[in-house]
Symmetry: D2
Subunit: 215 residues, 4 copies
């Protein structure tokens, strides 16, 4: 039975992944922000003390507030640098992933098509995507797969906060709806369940045909 | 029970996908080159006469011979333009995909990182990837998902033809092995089985962390 | 004094490049569609008979008609395969580029962000971009630089054909205007004039900040 | 006569750009690390006090030490987050770019093809590339062009530090040589000199055909 740690696993996409992994018998540690707040490095260090190894690590975190570039303060850059980048780096430096394991990153479609209102998220999630790519090559020797899932608009509390009128927003999307967290939860579950390992070092845009670029 | 057409489904990746879909109860028409040769437009037209609709269409075809740019003849460009591009276009123009269905393209990692020895494949598979991206947006309204899977080095007859010494080649790969067709077969199967629809309009590099680009 | 061939050099972007190269003393053969029609392979072969070497080759051609995928006929695919891909391949196979030379491709921003109305152009220009990337590595040994310029909306006859109301369209662009052919003409001129050689194997989107992707 | 600020302008690529801009009559403030150290936010704030507007801003900085992921300390992440990301953000938030101006970022080819030895640079330069893309759209309305130049291996002190044997390294490159800082200096100079404005929101890989991806 595989062990899994799902950061930000108490709701939304993280919860759906946590539920998916439990449904196939994984032993899942699913953290809420109270248990592990990646914007607070002492919280990260406390967590690392108690969780030294895992088979599956899912790196997921809520998004920063919607702010345009000019209004982001120095303190906000620093805080979300911790939350979206440095906290994840410390986790990956200190928690040992077992041979044959998985690292899943839940980033965002803004890593490729940045969003002016989400400049903090666009920048730091891009930065961490670069780190995960580098690690995918190193981890490959131990049969550990690294998969970066970049969700577009998903039906979560987060998305409902960002849009005044979600119904109207949905009409602008190619599929006329938000994605469901369970679609991502089932996707992650299937990869683990079927022992698909050769899918690694890849960014998978998960956005209902919403992005504009092909390659 | 869903119907599926798997082009190039008699061996390699196509067969693995065909087997995966059969295992979840799909009614699969799996074609060999004798039954449907996309380099021969009359063969394509014959096939279209007999197959007018499907729930799932898997576009897959063997690769052209390894040739460098200077040695490709006009006739070869024309032939593989048919095989890798135009034949697929005719299929997509004439076979109706049912609402809620899927189109899977098995392209190649050369669409993003072209290979001098595989210039024909690099070029025409890129071209068709562009077509599929465009269609993904149109099909989204009818809940049809388009997924472009771009395999890296997979353990198929094709790969064994391309390399004199596959064992030595494997040592150069991040995972020290080729991917298995079943990993892709299971991947496609899982998407259909779990009714994952929001994964659309995307290129998924399936290459064991072998590519160099992150985004 | 360098020799240059500018395909499609009688108007629009091609003419601006031709003018730019002439202004720095290049000896320019600038072809109209009457002189060299890349959709007609016999025209290509006639041209090759008379033009066997050059220092600078600029591959540029008008776009196909605006058509959506479903309405493109087999004959149209074949014709524009010639015009946008195969004709250029034959030119590059048969015209020798001198050491220290340049190949410029004028493609389009649709190679990365395909346009449903321009599916033919999106597909075949992507295909040829792949070929040029492959050649850039081979040509590097002879100090030949390959630069793929991918224009967005430029102030040409072509753009005016595509839009009923260009003025309204311009308001939707980040810079509130089309690009000018001379901006691209001057860009190409400057690279040659300053002997910038290390810019090679690259796609340069030239679109006034209009594209959505960052990487 | 245009004013320009070239950060990191005392040597290497920065100096070449500074020299290029001076050669066309720009009034250039070219800073060494003593004058403006972007890793030290108080240095950044001092600089901002004295430099409130400019026509041209060139954001350039030396690279962090070569370190693999596991050995980077928390303090190093923080320091280079300042140097490669936050310092540049503060400059762009506080220094007003005049209408019709330019922002040039000198990033690195590692933003697209990350390098395990340069994980810090790969990550934070990607992050800032995202910010510049976002700003390019906003600045477009005031005719300010943002150009992200991503150099590959260039003949600078930096490159000579990274490689024990530069001569051997050069043999592995497509052009069998490093790029020269002057090629980039002349490139920037030409864009300004020719008032090329429609080139904006773009990453320009400047690497002598060394990268592997096409799009």
């Amino acid at each position: 039975m595989a062990n899994a740690i799902v950061v930000g696993g108490s709701r939304g996409i993280g919860k759906a992944i946590s539920d998916g992994l439990k449904s196939i018998g994984c032993d899942v540690v699913s953290t809420s922000k109270n248990e592990l707040d990646t914007s607070d490095l002492s919280s990260v260090k406390n967590f690392i003390e108690k969780n030294k190894t895992t088979d599956i690590l899912v790196l997921n975190t809520g998004g920063p507030p919607a702010k345009e570039f000019d209004s982001v303060t120095e303190e906000e850059w620093q805080k979300f640098h911790n939350q979206l980048f440095l906290g994840f780096c410390l986790l990956l430096q200190k928690i040992s992933i077992n041979d044959g394991g998985y690292v899943f990153l839940i980033s965002s479609s803004v890593i490729k098509e940045p969003n002016p209102r989400l400049v903090i998220s666009s920048a730091y999630r891009s930065a961490f995507s670069s780190v995960l790519k580098i690690l995918s090559k190193k981890f490959a020797e131990r049969n550990i797969s690294c998969v970066n899932i970049a969700p577009g608009p998903i039906n979560t509390d987060r998305t409902r906060e960002l849009f005044d009128n979600v119904k109207e927003f949905e009409k602008t999307l190619p599929m006329k709806r938000l994605g469901e967290p369970e679609e991502i939860g089932n996707f992650v579950k299937s990869i683990v369940e079927n022992k698909i390992k050769y899918l690694s070092g890849v960014v998978i845009n998960f956005d209902g045909a919403n992005s504009n670029y092909v390659f």
